[in-house]
C-alpha cells in the first residue's frame, strides 16, 4: 500500500515519539504554543491513544508572550488534561530583562536559552521534544532528529552521530540529554495542510483580525500591552494583520493579511514570497545567528 506524503510524515513522527518514551527515563515535550507545537502535541496524543500521553509538557515563558498565547495554552492543557510545567527565569525577572530594554540577543539568551537549561536541570529531563523543522533555517537542515546535547546542553554540529534508517542511537551518559525533533521532515505547507485536515486548534493570532500595530524598522509590531514604548514618530494603527510565526511579541513581526481561516492561510502561503522566519528578528542579529544560538543550547 502506498501512503501519501502526509500519512508517511504522520507515521514517521509517531514512531519517533514512541521511541523516545520507550528508551528514555524522563522525557518532556517543549510546548511553545505555536502551530508546530500544536501539531506535535496532536501526534503525541495519537501515539498513545487511548491512554494519556506519558510525559509532561514544558513551557518556557519569557513573560513576553502574546496574551492570547497564554490563554490558548491554558485552555488546551485543561481540555486534554495535560501535565504542564511553566518555567520562568526568575533571576531574569528580578533584573527586569526584556527585549526592549536589553535587545533581542540578551533577552533571548537569558529568558529563553538560559531559562530552558534551568528547567531541564531542575527536573532532570533526559529527553526533550521540540517542534523545529529542517526547512525553517539552514543550520536546522543539518541537525539530527535525535540531537545529542552534552552536560551543558551544548550542540556540537561537527560531531553529530550519524543517523541511519530509523535506528536512532538513544544511548547517553549521566547528565547528558537529547533533543528530539519529530517534525524534522515536515515543511510549513505540510504543517498547515495537516492542521486543516485534522482540524487542530491553533492560537487565533494566526488568523487575520484588526489589531493595534506600530511600524518599526519596516516590521509591524503588535501592541499587546503597555510595556511597548511608543516613540514620538510612531503611531498606533489598527490594521488587518496576522502572524506566520509566534514568539515574544516585540520580536515577532506581523504581516498584513486578510486570511481569516486555514484555507485562506494556505492560499496566502503558496502565493507568498517570504519565508516564515523572516518575522523573527532573532535570526538575523548576526551572520550564522541561529547556529550560534543552537550551539549554546537554544532550540
Amino acid at each position: 500500500m502506498t501512503f501519501n506524503h502526509l500519512k508517511k510524515l504522520e507515521s514517521e513522527s509517531i514512531y519517533i515519539i514512541r521511541e523516545v518514551v520507550a528508551e528514555f527515563k524522563n522525557p518532556v515535550m517543549l510546548y511553545s504554543i505555536g502551530k508546530d507545537s500544536s501539531v506535535m502535541l496532536h501526534l503525541a496524543i495519537k501515539a498513545f491513544a487511548p491512554n494519556k500521553i506519558p510525559f509532561k509538557l514544558l513551557h518556557v515563558d519569557t513573560t513576553w508572550k502574546f496574551k492570547e498565547m497564554i490563554k490558548f495554552r491554558d485552555q488546551i492543557t485543561k481540555e486534554h488534561n495535560l501535565d504542564l510545567i511553566v518555567h520562568i527565569n526568575q533571576e531574569g525577572v528580578n533584573y527586569k530583562v526584556g527585549p526592549i530594554t536589553h535587545g533581542s540577543k540578551t533577552h533571548t539568551d537569558i529568558m529563553k536559552t538560559q531559562s530552558l537549561k534551568q528547567a531541564l536541570n531542575k527536573y532532570k529531563f533526559d529527553a526533550a521534544f521540540g517542534g523545529a523543522r529542517r526547512d525553517e533555517e539552514k543550520s536546522r537542515a543539518k541537525e539530527r532528529i535525535f540531537s545529542f546535547r552534552d552536560t551543558n546542553h551544548r550542540w556540537d554540529p561537527k560531531n553529530q552521530k550519524p543517523e541511519l534508517w530509523n535506528l536512532f542511537n538513544t544511548k547517553i551518559s549521566n547528565n547528558e540529554s537529547v533533543r528530539i525533533f519529530p517534525l524534522s521532515n515536515w515543511t510549513e505547507v505540510d504543517v498547515w495542510q495537516y492542521i486543516y485536515q485534522e482540524n487542530i486548534p491553533i492560537v487565533p493570532l494566526y488568523f487575520a483580525a484588526k489589531r493595534p500595530v506600530i511600524n518599526r524598522e519596516d516590521m509591524l509590531i503588535m501592541v499587546d500591552d503597555n510595556r511597548l514604548e511608543i516613540k514620538k514618530d510612531e503611531k498606533i494603527e489598527e490594521k488587518l494583520i496576522r502572524f506566520r510565526t509566534l514568539g515574544c511579541y516585540p520580536l515577532t513581526a506581523a504581516v498584513e493579511s486578510k486570511a481569516s481561516n486555514i484555507e485562506e492561510i494556505i492560499i496566502e502561503l503558496l502565493e507568498s514570497k517570504h519565508s516564515e522566519r523572516q518575522g523573527r528578528l532573532i535570526d538575523s542579529d548576526q551572520i550564522g545567528s541561529m547556529e550560534i544560538k543552537k550551539q549554546d543550547g537554544y532550540f
Binding site: 506524503h5 514512541r18 520507550a22 501515539a47 526547512d135 543539518k142 561537527k158 534508517w165 515543511t187
Partner: protein, 623 residues
Amino acid sequence: MDLKKFFINQNSKKQLKILTCGSVDDGKSTLIGRLLFDSKSIYSDQISQTKFESEKYGTQGKEIDLALLIDGLQAEREQGITIDVAYRYFETEKCKFIIADTPGHQEYTRNMATGASNSDIGIVLIDATKGILDQTKRHTFILSLLGVNHIVIAVNKMDILNYDKINFDNIVQSFEKLSKNFNFLSKKYIPMSALIGDNVFSKSKKMPWYSDETLISTLESFDIDKSSIDEEFSMPIQWVNRSGSDFRGYSGTISSGKININDEIIVVSSGQKARVGKILTPDGNADFTYENQAVTISLDKEIDISRGDLITTDLDKIKIADQFSAYIIWMHKDNMLPERNYIFRFINSYINGKITNLEYKININSYEKIAAKSLELNDIAYCKIALSKATFFKSYTQNNQLGSFVIIDQFNNLTVGAGMIDFELRRSNNIIWHDMTIDKKKRSKLNSQKPCALWFTGLSGSGKSTIANILEQKLHQLTKRTYLLDGDNIRHGLNKDLGFTDVDRVENIRRVAEVSKLMTDAGLITLISFISPFKSERKMARDLFYDNEFIEIFVDTPIEECEKRDPKGLYKKARSGKLKNFTGIDSDYEIPLSPEIKLKTVSKNPEELADEILNYMKKNNII
C-alpha cells in the same frame, strides 16, 4: 486558486526521498540550489540573504551563488565546502521531495551511507569535463550496498563542453561498464547543466540530440514503492501501552503485510499465540491495518510481550539467531577490532555482541576483496557477528528495517558503524551447553573456598607479576587452591601465535579471560597478570564472571618509575625503536576508572601490597 482541487492534488502527492552524490566540485550544491530555486521553494528574503553572503563568500562573481543557499553551517560558508548531511525540501505538481545532501570528500563516506539509508533514489553527479572518478565508483557501490535501487546518472556541466554529445556518450558507456557489477532496478542518464538549468526542470534547447525526460520528470516517474503487503504480517513491538487505564495494547510500526481483527498472531520470543482484538490507527479504530502504519493492537488474551519482541503471522519467514553474517560500514576514527565488544542496535533492541570474523574488506574503487585484520574509518567489510543473545531479523535485501543495525561504542555511546544482515549462521544451535552434575558450587564446597578471578592490570614493569607471585604464596600457605596465569608465560604456549598489534592484544586477552573463567569454574582462585591495556577487553573479561567474582587490581606505577626499574630492558629497546607497539610508549594504556583495588607501588614493598589484597579478600568474605 481552486482550494478543493489544491487539496485533492496535495493528497495525491507521493513522497520521494532522494540522495545527491558526487565528487568535490561536481556541482551538487548548485544542483540542489537549482532544484529549490526552480521549484520556487526559496523565498525572497532567503535570496537576499544569499546575495549578501555571495558577495562575501561567493564563487560566481557578481552572480548569486546557488551553493550558498545550501551550505548551512558557518564553517562551510567560509571554507566553501559541505561538511555534513543536510536535508532539503521542495515540491512539484506530482511529488514532495526530500533531498539528502551529502558531501563528496573521501573522508565523508559515512555521511553518504547515512543519506543513502533513508533514500529511494540516488542521483550520481558526474562532472562531464572530468568523467568517471574514483568517487563515482565509491558512490555507486554504496548506493547499491544500501539498497538504493533507482539511480539517475546526471552528467553535469555540459555547458562547459558546448553540449557535446560525444562526451556524454562516452560517460554513459563507461558507467554501463562500471555498473555491470550491480543490480539497480532502474538507471537513467541525463545530460544537464545545473548552473544554467538545462534539463533540470525544463528541457534544454541546446541538446536536441537528447530526447528523453528532464531530471524532474525522470524522478517523478520512478515507481519506488516496493510493497510487502502480500508478505506475512510482522510488527516489532515498540512500546507496550498500558499506562493508567484498563487498556493494554502493543504499539509499533508494521514492517510487512496486513492484519485484520480476529487474525491469529504469534509472539516470536515465546511462540505464544493470540487473536487481534482492537486495531488503533492514527485515524482511530479500524478493522484492518497494513505495512508502514504506526498502530496499537490489543489482543484477546493476556500474554507476555515486551519491547524487543516481534509479532507475526508466519514464524517461518522470520530468522532467529545469535550469529549472522553482514556487511558493515565503519564510521569512526577508532579502528574496529574483531572480538571487541560493541552494542548492536536493532529495530527495537540493544544487544551486546562482537565481530568474530572479518572475512574481507572491500576496496570500493576497484571492488576487490582484501584480507584485513581491523577496520578503519570509512572501510566497508563483510564479517560474521556473534551476539550475546539471539534476535529476530530478515536479510537486508528482503526488509531493510528488520535487516539493518547500527554499532555503538559501549563506553562513549558514539555510533561507530552500521550494518546490513546477509544471512544467519546456525552454528550455535549445533553446539549445546551441557550442564554437568558436578558444578562450581560443589567444587567450591570440596575445596572450602570461594573461587574468584584476581585480575592484575598495569604497565610493563609495574610489579604485577611480583605482587601476584607473593600473593599466591600467601594463599598457598592458607591452603587455598590457586593458579597464576602470567602474560609472558601464556605467550610461550597458548598465545604464541599472537603479536603485539591492537588486534592481537584483543585476542590475547580474550583467550586468557576464557581460560581464567574455566579455572574459576574449576573452583580455583585464579590470579591473572596481564598488562591488559584496553578498558574494552577488561570489561569483556569482567562480563564473563558473576558480580563479586571478578576483582580488578590496578597496579598503579608511573611510567617513569617502570622505565627506571625496566627489569627486562624492554623500555630501553622500545625507546630506541627496536621494539614496536610497546604499551606506554607507542601503544595506549587506558587507566582503569573504577578498579576494586588500586595499588600505589612507589612507597610500598610488594609484601605490603600483597597484604592489601589479602585484606580486601578477607573483608569481602572470599577467604
